[in-house]
Symmetry: C2
Subunit: 265 residues, 2 copies
């Protein structure tokens, strides 16, 4: 839990800021024929993680109602409205359509573009990871999708299996190359959890949480038990001491000793 945070300063581009520097350039832009290059479709696909009531890491999968891969399970996604929105905006829009939530933590994962990954036509998919507290999810079915459900993830050397009360899905039941996308998302999440603030985005309430709650999120992601005293020590050193988290003048009552509440800034 040390903080090697890598922050990128990125400037934002928009249409209005580009100024033609000459008449020659204006002419060029008018004559430019966009159709002369082969254009693949571009989609955004989103790996949505959440924690269930038993603090297991869950993922949202959609049963495809249409071809290709009809009946297979996929992560939600959709076409980017090129030129109208940024990639992240496209991901946020899809997320909103699928789960009815806004203001979600979204992080670009990787871009997949192997030929033949979609049997219809060349499709390049920009994959995003979303971390969402379950309370905020309001799952809906998409346009050409039947059925959206949350599944508990089991991922070890044997492979991935997704289960819930009624269904068991193996990684071979996933559409397209979504197996690779999900595997990469889990791996990245596990690697990032120790030095990035990702875990806070899975808290029910960032403004009032206990150290135990945060520990359970870490345990779910890393899929192993964590020693609470050591976790507390690192938490206080890395977050409270630096001011990224402040201790509230409030406790959470329940079984056992009341727990201090903290607020993530």
């Amino acid at each position: 839990m040390n903080n090697k945070k890598a922050s990128y300063t990125s400037s934002t581009y928009n249409n209005s800021s580009y100024i033609c520097s000459s008449e020659e350039e204006k002419e060029f832009l008018e004559k430019y024929d966009a159709s002369k290059y082969t254009r693949p479709s571009v989609t955004v696909d989103i790996v949505i993680f959440t924690l269930d009531e038993e603090d297991n890491l869950n993922i949202l999968l959609i049963n495809r109602g249409g071809y290709p891969y009809k009946g297979f399970w996929a992560i939600p996604g959709g076409f980017v409205e090129a030129g109208k929105e940024s990639l992240e905006q496209a991901a946020a829009r899809e997320l909103k359509e699928e789960t009815n939530i806004s203001n979600v933590y979204l992080k670009q994962l990787y871009t997949f573009g192997n030929p033949g990954r979609d049997p219809r036509t060349p499709v390049i998919s920009v994959a995003y990871t979303a971390l969402v507290p379950k309370e905020m999810l309001d799952i809906k079915a998409g346009d050409d999708a039947d059925d959206a459900q949350l599944f508990k993830i089991k991922y070890d050397i044997e492979g991935m299996i997704f289960t819930n009360e009624s269904l068991t899905i193996t990684e071979d039941n996933l559409a397209f190359d979504h197996r690779d996308i999900i595997k990469m998302a889990i791996t990245r999440l596990r690697n990032r959890i120790d030095y990035e603030d990702d875990a806070f985005n899975l808290l029910k309430n960032k403004n009032e949480f206990t150290i135990s709650e945060l520990k359970k999120i870490h345990e779910a992601i890393k899929n192993k038990n964590i020693d609470l005293p050591n976790f507390r020590k690192a938490f206080l050193r890395d977050y409270v001491e630096s001011g990224k988290v402040i201790e509230l003048d409030k406790n959470l009552e329940g079984k056992g000793k009341p727990a201090k509440l903290y607020k993530y800034i």
Copy 2:
């Protein structure tokens, strides 16, 4: 919902060999109209790093001979031949065209797709980072580019400046959003260098190198001096002890005490 389960388990689909499972699906694929979605152009852009003779981190920039951003400097790139090649293959192809080298370390960096980043038409750019020993570079000009040159990078809180014997380029002289791409590439490289094997790809000869040579690469990337005894200790522990690097029965003669040679596997 249990009735669905049986059909999932029988699948053996993968990317490369998609087999239509039914006549219904065949029909669907034939009728599918790819043109109904707005398709952005997709390019790959490559941040090429190398070390110069004085062990400074260098980057390859191209002076744009055509509009847009004529006269501005850009990183090399080009359109993806959708459906014919993977994104990494496209990057490798562009790299080969530009610098005449193959078998280069290439790593996907990030995908940029803000509206208006290219004034002509919506363009989504998948950025790659390449690490190349200078000896292998054979720099050429591209199709609509004038001039390709290596520049020493200076990057601190003040911003980025690129210099060589004849030119000084500020980050404002860069085309498109290449400023953001390059900044991200440098930041990522710096963050990765401590726990990934990236540095070895900048060695003149991976099969015969000294600890000092490797240290100089790390210094160039991190832009600070490293204590040699400590670097050696970590190198022996992390690479030699684990077998990722083997000590050769050979020394490099020169000024001072001869240096042991190592081989990266």
